[in-house]
């Protein structure tokens, strides 16, 4: 038996990759440049696809391979290319300008990670033994932290495109939660969700483009005419 066939090894690999996913999420909070942000997102999605692939290999679940392949095609290749083109096309200033400064944002993200761990703890019943998902609750904790930090990024950012990125990374957290809790949703649901994410990003991309043309800016804090 080779060392990589040992399920223990697989579990450690998954935990390691999940940790990197979290690190990349916090890197995204700390990042100042838009294009780098898109690439960090692509790297994070790549790790996510690898996690899905690893789970599929060790659990002999072929349908997760499909989810992994879709993650790779959509979130690692297609969407980052689409967004980088958009950035080039609208020639905006490349800096992100968060509302809360970077050190404090990173601190808040750390706090949210702790909340993620506390919530994940409530799902962990080692004594029950019936749980199909024996994946470490570490992965789930990372998923919930990703979700929470994604929310925080949405509030913390002014530029329309960075909000879309935050929404996508939040969605990454959901994907991780789904595969760590239940080894993914039924395939047809998974396909539907991917299709929605793809279309949603394109729709928002078009909106971002038209907003930047109409308002000469991507700063959504300028969108404040409708009140009351």
């Amino acid at each position: 038996m080779y060392f990589y066939q040992d399920p223990q090894f697989g579990e450690r690999m998954i935990t390691l990759m999940a940790a990197f996913v979290l690190v990349l999420q916090i890197a995204m909070v700390a990042q100042r440049w838009l294009v780098t942000n898109i690439r960090v997102f692509a790297a994070q999605s790549f790790l996510l696809a690898s996690i899905a692939g690893t789970i599929a290999y060790y659990n002999h679940a072929p349908h997760i391979y499909i989810a992994a392949a879709m993650t790779f095609a959509v979130k690692v290749v297609f969407l980052p290319i689409l967004m980088e083109r958009l950035v080039a096309k609208i020639e905006i200033r490349q800096e992100i300008e968060p509302l809360i400064n970077v050190p404090l944002s990173v601190l808040i993200s750390g706090g949210l990670t702790m909340v993620g761990y506390v919530v994940a703890e409530s799902f962990y019943h080692p004594e029950a033994g019936t749980t199909p998902a024996t994946l470490g609750h570490n992965t789930l904790a990372v998923a919930i932290s990703l979700f929470l930090i994604g929310f925080f990024m949405m509030i913390n950012r002014r530029k329309a495109l960075t909000q879309v990125l935050a929404l996508l990374s939040l969605e990454n957290g959901l994907f991780l939660a789904a595969i760590s809790l239940t080894y993914g949703m039924p395939l047809i649901v998974e396909v539907g969700v991917f299709f929605d994410v793809l279309v949603a990003t394109m729709v928002m991309g078009i909106l971002v483009y038209r907003i930047s043309e109409t308002f000469d800016s991507m700063d959504v804090s300028k969108l404040r005419r409708l009140r009351g």
Binding site: M154, L167, A178, P186, I188, F195, L223, L226
Partner: protein, 498 residues
């Protein structure tokens, strides 16, 4: 067969309208599709009344009385809007709305956007109640947002871009919470049913085993679902996109969002409410819903009282009605679900009419501000003015109109369940909203003639107004027995404990 037809017809209409060349063709495609959809919806309602539930495509599509009711309401709203839209957009064209911002897009191409996206939007709205799988239902609800974003930006004004952006972002964040709730439900169910089963999220399977689900997870799942689908339904405090979108979208789109999409979002909430109450008992979900329902009504009150624009007024009315329906569900008991579903039915028929009246006024005066409208509209637009006043009375729940009956049923459910304080607040909010609404609309419609020229209203608009107005009046006195039977058996699905 019926289930597939309901989805295929609007989809085909979307494709056909996309390749159509002339405006008249697009209009007729839409009208025919609306009539066919309505026919099949009635057939579906009939067969669920007879046989309980229908399924197709290997259990992927499923309909019981609850789904059939929502399908029927969506198709009624679609049909009403299809008729009104013809007149509305023709008047827009005569008024030169499409020439003003000369960004080189011909009117036909703009109309093509409307006539091809609307059937697609309807197709996705129908998929929500027809899908058996709760994951597919989520996909469909998210799809409705995506299909309608570009309907909101129809006029291409900066304000409509702003509204569409809020709609897409708030909807996107909200629905991601809904997805998380769905994942958690799947997890909580997988402890009973095992993973890797294709039916693991199928409603027809889940509902029979809900009592055995993991309770901690289900509790968390319902909170996420409430936030998620609550955002889509515009329940406070996730309602902020509604006034912007309802005032910037073209009137037929706004009417469909307010009267049809609201039902779909509440339908999603209902399905999970049923699972949660079977799993945890009714108290947990009810308490949450009472808080959010009362909050929605409370938020609507001040904004209705001081509102400056009549289009935004309608949006706050929609937030208020969302709150009323949620409250009906929360009060429970034998009457709660019945009151909620009756309210949903009556609201779906009355609300579009209110939007049509507001649309007529806005097209004639070229403004949606009360101050610029000056009042005395009854002189310039006798039919619209009269119907506007009548619908205002209907929508604020004054007797003898039908919404009074459903609100009264909900109130009785509250007293039956000994929710005294919520019941008192409920009545208080209703009275304040009634007063605010009536003052605004009475000032707009009645009064001396300010000398605005007499309005030329196209026949399509006029007949959709009179036709739907007649239905609203008749419903106040006579509810057809089959419709009531459908509502009753839908309410039984909500209440029944296995």
């Amino acid at each position: 067969m019926v289930l597939a037809a309901l989805l295929v017809i609007p989809l085909l209409a979307a494709v056909a309208a996309f390749v159509a060349r002339r405006r008249v063709e697009m209009e007729w495609i839409n009208l025919v599709a609306a009539v066919l959809t309505l026919t099949f919806a009635v057939v579906l309602a009939g067969s669920t009344l007879q046989s309980g539930s229908v399924s197709a495509w290997g259990g992927l599509l499923y309909a019981d009385a609850l789904s059939a009711l929502v399908v029927l309401l969506v198709s009624i709203v679609y049909a009403a809007c299809a008729v009104y839209a013809v007149g509305y957009f023709r008047d827009d064209e005569t008024n030169g709305v499409f020439d003003e911002d000369s960004d080189g897009v011909p009117a036909v191409d703009r109309l093509r956007k409307y006539y091809s996206l609307t059937p697609l939007f309807v197709c996705l709205m129908l998929l929500v109640p027809l899908s058996n799988n709760l994951g597919i239902m989520w996909v469909a609800i998210e799809g409705t947002t995506l299909a309608s974003v570009f309907l909101v930006t129809f006029y291409g004004r900066p304000n409509s871009l702003e509204a569409a952006w809020k709609y897409a972002m708030i909807g996107g964040v909200g629905l991601s919470m809904g997805l998380f709730g769905t994942v958690l439900t799947y997890y909580s169910a997988s402890l009973v049913m095992g993973t890797e089963t294709l039916v693991g999220l199928n409603w027809s399977v889940l509902v029979t085993k809900a009592a055995q689900f993991d309770k901690t997870t289900m509790r968390l799942a319902f909170i996420f679902i409430l936030m998620g689908y609550g955002t889509k339904a515009g329940i406070a405090p996730m309602h902020t996109w509604k006034p912007d979108v309802y005032s910037e979208a073209p009137v037929p789109v706004a009417a469909m969002l307010a009267a049809a999409l609201l039902n779909c979002a509440l339908y999603g909430l209902l399905r999970f409410f049923i699972l949660t109450s079977r799993c945890l008992g009714p108290e947990f979900a009810s308490q949450l819903l009472i808080i959010f329902g009362l909050l929605s009504m409370a938020v609507a009150v001040p904004f209705i009282l001081v509102q400056k624009s009549f289009r935004r007024l309608l949006a706050y009315s929609s937030i208020d009605h969302g709150g009323i329906m949620v409250l009906g569900l929360a009060f429970g008991g034998p009457l709660g679900a019945l009151g909620m579903l009756l309210h949903m039915t009556f609201h779906s028929i009355t609300k579009p009419l209110l939007f049509f009246c507001a649309g007529n006024v806005q097209q004639h005066l070229k403004t949606d501000q009360f101050r610029q409208a000056k009042g005395g509209l009854i002189h310039a637009m006798p039919i619209t003015g009269a119907v506007f006043l009548l619908t205002t009375l209907a929508v604020t729940g004054s007797p003898p109109f039908s919404l009074f009956q459903s609100e009264f049923t909900i109130l009785r459910a509250a007293f039956d369940g000994h929710h005294i304080l919520p019941a008192v607040l409920f009545v208080g909010f209703l009275v304040m909203i009634f007063a605010g609404f009536l003052i605004h609309i009475a000032r707009l419609v009645l009064g001396e003639d300010p000398g605005t020229p007499h309005a030329q209203i196209s026949d399509w608009k006029k007949y959709s107004l009179i036709g739907l107005g007649a239905v609203v009046v008749i419903l106040g006195f006579w509810l057809p027995a089959p419709l009531f039977a459908l509502v009753q058996s839908a309410a039984r699905i909500v209440r029944e404990v296995h």
